[in-house]
């Protein structure tokens, strides 16, 4: 890594020397000449000295007539927003914040939800750090794309600038910034990507990691990285923003950085437990909701359940029971809203509708119930919630490196999560939280805080990123919670089989290229090697489709019709090819004429397809930049689909299952020897002996989802080290591979004879 960068640095240094005729013109040295510091002399910021400002100075600048950041007069809307902003709890401590910020390089900031930290702190920093004078930026990371976008939008309004100019955002597959941008909201993953090509993050003068308590993979890696960067760059300031009391852990990790805590605007929440454990938590949740509706004062209810199916089921039952209550006991009207990630946005928006009014003047008040996954725990704030029903479970990802399976399991939440859920009841007025478990269970069954993502995931893309970041010593890399050695070993081995790392663990040319793609390494390798199989256009489409949520819609009421429509696109050899057919049909003039109608008629998710289209465009740009050839086999060539299936093997040769000799449609995964079934959603028409799968789904049964039929000869040909027959134990799989090797040898021989 280092030797690759050195020559570049040399060139940069030389260029600077040549330009250095008048140092005042050199933008890199602007900080040395404060009087011409890039800020308009008439601007209210002209007298500001970096890191020496106070809240009063900033207030004056904010109250001025002219926007100091773009030189335009403030609009009337700005003034009204400014008043509400000043009511936020963080505003009371602006001076205190500035002092700590100026004194120290790293600051831990704790603010409960509703304190205004995400929108206000970056603006406080902007007035003190003056990044425009340094030709640098302020970055504020968010774990979620939607948050990055919506917060940037909000802050642009607050600052009275156009989104994408002074304030912008950057998320995977979408960059909304310009050369004017001084405050950039971005996903933590994007900042990590930028660090891969700029190890010192030299474009930024201050970096804020928001929602650090969520401990996403990218945030954890960034923290480890920034801990190294601050040593190399004393001018860089870091603010870690967290919402929970866990902040001491961050403080310890960052070598006793100072901590500033701002209280949120919350009301007390009374917590109730059940005296005995519940036999059925869903049923108990439904009964609790109805009980609240019957006996408690006005106020909305938030119920936490684990998944889409459970939520829809509970919503239906509550609706029916509530209707009966209205009919028989003159209860107030009750509106039920489900909420989960795969719900279309317009349906998600409905949760913000006000509670229904009483059915007649003077009647019992109406109420809304929101039944949600844990996305309502931190990421979404709904006002008006007074009652929270918490069964104590959520779906959590867990990775087993021994069988290489990442699965979503319904697991008990943590104490921190339970507290967070309870806190949701106290947003508008004192509330109540009903926990559907005993206090004993709370104390004994729940872990302190949820395990960070880095302990629960496959690390292969993270390891590739770290290697690209120039971090070779993965053993001593200072993560807040280092992963288990076995998990890391697995990741290294997978990357080695994918030829992204050589046998000594060094990044290969392929690995370097693969890290340019914001994709899983297997997908990236598949994409990069697709020209060898004359189908890079098609593999690009498939990759894009595999990176977005499910494109097929299958509503419970119209399953049969949906399946019929899916069959229109199905390809007998597998689901990946079926996806490709869908995409081709989607791009046809017939569909493009009225996309909405076409998708509705064919039971396809328009949003997914559109985002796949967008992802494809972004990936295409990277492929063109990296000069990867875009080619296709002619469609009438009989090898058209075979080439695609071969190309799939190039990335997914570690996700293969073979049909068992006896037993119908039971498969065994190669090397990991897990018994699996094909997911019922597959279109695979024949009993394929060998299948490649995209996903291993662990539920009551083990399923493999999104499968394509492949041939063992291809595997031997494409991944000879992984399919080294001598490493396989005696058995069905080994003998099948040996037969395939013989066939391959025979074919080779025949070909050689023909040539003679």
């Amino acid at each position: 890594m280092a030797d690759r960068r050195d020559p570049e640095d040399g060139v940069r240094a030389k260029r600077q020397k040549m330009d250095a005729g008048d140092p005042k013109d050199n933008p890199y040295l602007a900080h040395m000449y404060e009087d011409t510091n890039g800020v308009d002399k008439n601007s209210s910021l002209a007298k500001f000295k970096r890191h020496q400002t106070t809240a009063a100075m900033a207030k004056k600048a904010e109250d001025g007539e002219i926007n100091p950041f773009n030189g335009r007069p403030f609009s009337s809307k700005y003034v009204s927003i400014l008043h509400t902003r000043r009511d936020l709890p963080v505003h009371q401590q602006r001076d205190e914040f500035l002092q700590l910020y100026q004194q120290s390089q790293i600051l831990v900031f704790v603010g409960e939800t509703g304190s205004g930290k995400t929108t206000q702190i970056p603006q406080f920093v902007l007035f003190d750090d003056l990044p425009q004078t340094q030709h640098k930026m302020i970055a504020c990371t968010q774990p979620r794309r939607v948050a990055a976008m919506s917060v940037a939008q909000r802050v642009a309004e607050e600052m009275d600038v156009k989104l994408g100019e002074e304030v912008g955002y950057s998320i995977r597959f979408e960059d909304m910034t310009s050369s004017k941008t001084i405050l950039k909201y971005m996903t933590d993953g994007m900042l990590l990507r930028e660090a891969m090509n700029d190890h010192d993050l030299s474009r930024y003068s201050t970096i804020m990691l928001d929602e650090a308590h969520e401990r996403t993979m990218a945030t954890d890696v960034l923290m480890g990285l920034l801990k190294q960067v601050v040593v190399r760059r004393p001018d860089l300031k870091i603010i870690i923003m967290s919402a929970t009391l866990d902040a001491q852990k961050f403080q310890r990790y960052f070598l006793d950085a100072p901590l500033l805590a701002v209280p949120g605007r919350t009301h007390p929440v009374e917590v109730f437990y059940t005296p005995e454990p519940e036999q059925d938590y869903v049923e108990a949740a439904i009964r609790t909701v109805l009980q609240i509706h019957a006996t408690e004062d006005e106020g909305d209810i938030l119920v936490f359940l684990t998944g889409e199916e459970e939520i829809e089921d509970a919503a239906r039952k509550i609706y029916m029971e509530a209707e009966e209550m209205v009919r028989e006991a003159d209860a107030g009207p009750l509106k039920v809203y489900p909420l989960y990630g795969s719900l279309p946005p317009h349906m998600q928006q409905r949760i913000f509708e006000p509670a229904p009014p009483p059915r007649r003047p003077g009647g019992r008040p109406g109420r809304k119930v929101i039944i949600s996954t844990n996305i309502a725990e931190t990421s979404l704030t709904i006002d008006g919630i007074v009652y929270v029903v918490d069964p104590g479970f959520s779906k959590q990802k867990i990775y087993n490196p021994r069988i290489r399976v990442e699965s979503l399991l319904v697991s008990p939440i943590s104490k921190a999560s339970a507290q967070q859920r309870a806190g949701r009841a106290g947003r508008t007025r004192p509330g109540k939280c009903f926990r559907l478990y005993t206090e004993e269970a709370y104390k004994k069954e729940l872990i302190e805080s949820t395990y960070p993502e880095v302990l629960r995931s496959n690390l292969s893309s993270t390891v590739l990123e770290l290697k690209k970041l120039g971090i070779d010593d993965l053993v001593h890399f200072d993560l807040m919670d280092p992963p288990a050695p076995e998990t890391l070993m697995r990741a290294l081995e997978e990357l080695n089989y994918l030829a992204c790392l050589d046998d000594d663990g060094n990044l290969t040319q392929l690995g370097r290229l693969a890290s340019e793609f914001p994709l899983d390494p297997a997908l990236a390798v598949m994409l990069i090697s697709s020209p060898e199989f004359y189908c890079s256009n098609e593999i690009l489409s498939i990759t894009a489709l595999l990176s977005v949520p499910q494109v097929f819609v299958r509503p419970a009421s119209q399953r049969k019709r949906a399946d019929e429509m899916k069959n229109l696109f199905s390809h007998q050899d597998g689901d990946q090819l079926t996806l490709l057919n869908v995409y081709h049909a989607f791009k046809s003039p017939e569909a493009q004429a009225n996309l909405k109608q076409w998708c509705h008629d064919h039971f396809l998710n328009l949003r997914s397809l559109q985002s796949a289209d967008n992802v494809r465009k972004q990936l295409l740009r990277i492929m063109e930049r990296e000069e990867i050839e875009m080619i296709s086999t002619p469609f009438d060539d009989k090898k058209y689909y075979e080439n695609i299936r071969r190309a799939l093997c190039a990335g997914f040769f570690m996700q293969i299952a073979k049909k068992d000799a006896q037993g119908k449609s039971v498969y065994t995964t190669i090397k990991d020897n897990q018994s699996v079934l094909l997911h019922p959603s597959t279109v695979l028409a024949h009993d394929a002996e060998w299948v490649l799968y995209n996903e291993f789904v662990l539920t009551t049964k083990n399923y493999i989802r999104t499968v394509t039929a492949v041939k063992p000869e291809w595997l031997l040909d494409i991944a000879p080290t992984y399919y080294d027959i001598s490493t396989f134990p005696k058995g069905d799989i080994r003998s099948a591979l040996m037969r395939a090797a013989e066939r391959l040898a025979r074919k080779e021989k025949m070909r050689a004879e023909k040539r003679r």
Binding site: D280, P412, L436, D472, V475
Partner: protein, 251 residues
């Protein structure tokens, strides 16, 4: 039958005289010397058994049994050979023992020499349970396959699989084993599988199966199947190479 030599029968079952030359009894005469030097002479002093010698070498008891303050300094060195007879209790016994009289490992007082003199070295302090528990144990090596490339990578950066340490900056090591998930297939509420003390209850036994009545045909079929299963099992066992070899070809 050259296989005869591999034949092994319990001693009492071996016939003294077999058929053939090899089974003829070989005559022996008595040695001229009445005693063999190699056999152990019945020991008059049981305390000098080889076990004690060994203990005294390995467990450096001797220096400590004296109760002298020099025990710590000499403890690292190899102890002198054990004394067979215990000298009279040292005078230091009367005054309170110096701090060095405590074992440095388990922090308990070393056994009193007075007691030792009666049953010398039969229960050295090092053999006491408290001491053994406090000793640094060597742990069994890690289960990881040493040939894995991932392990080789981690080893080059100084991670030792047997060190019982996780990864991460020194002093802040992480978890050693991957997290385990438990598949939950029911809707049972939190804590419903626990008893009053919060301990996990064993899974309730499955409800007893209903007794099914079979007609003659089914019963016959069942019996047939059972017989076939038995045959299959017998075949599996008796066709095993090792069993065949044991039984000889004829069996």
């Amino acid at each position: 039958m050259s296989d005869d030599e591999d034949y092994f029968l319990p001693l009492e079952d071996q016939r003294v005289f077999g058929a053939g030359i090899r089974r003829k009894r070989v005559p022996f005469v008595r040695s001229t010397e009445h005693e063999l030097r190699t056999t152990a002479r019945p020991s008059s002093t049981p305390s000098t058994s080889i076990a004690n010698t060994y203990l005294s070498i390995v467990l450096k008891t001797d220096a400590k049994r004296d109760g002298s303050s020099t025990s710590t300094s000499t403890s690292r060195e190899r102890s002198p050979p054990p004394r067979t007879t215990q000298s009279a209790p040292p005078t230091s016994e009367a005054i309170p023992p110096p701090p060095s009289n405590n074992c440095e490992i388990c922090n308990l007082p070393l056994s009193e020499p007075g007691i030792d003199s009666d049953t010398p070295a039969t229960r050295p302090h090092e053999a006491s349970l408290a001491h053994q528990v406090c000793l640094n144990h060597s742990h069994p090596p890690s289960h990881l396959d040493r040939a894995r490339t991932g392990l080789r990578y981690l080893s080059t950066y100084g991670w030792d699989p047997d060190s019982r340490l996780g990864l991460g900056a020194p002093g802040r090591e992480g978890i050693r084993e991957p997290l385990k998930g438990r598949i939950k297939n029911d809707k049972a509420g939190l804590g419903s599988g626990l008893d009053k003390d919060g301990d996990r209850l064993p899974a309730p036994p499955p409800p007893p199966k209903k007794v099914q009545k079979l007609n003659a045909k089914q019963a016959r079929k069942g019996a047939d199947e059972a017989r076939k299963r038995g045959d299959k099992l017998r075949n599996m066992f008796f066709q095993n190479d090792e069993v065949l070899k044991y039984l000889g070809e004829d069996a």
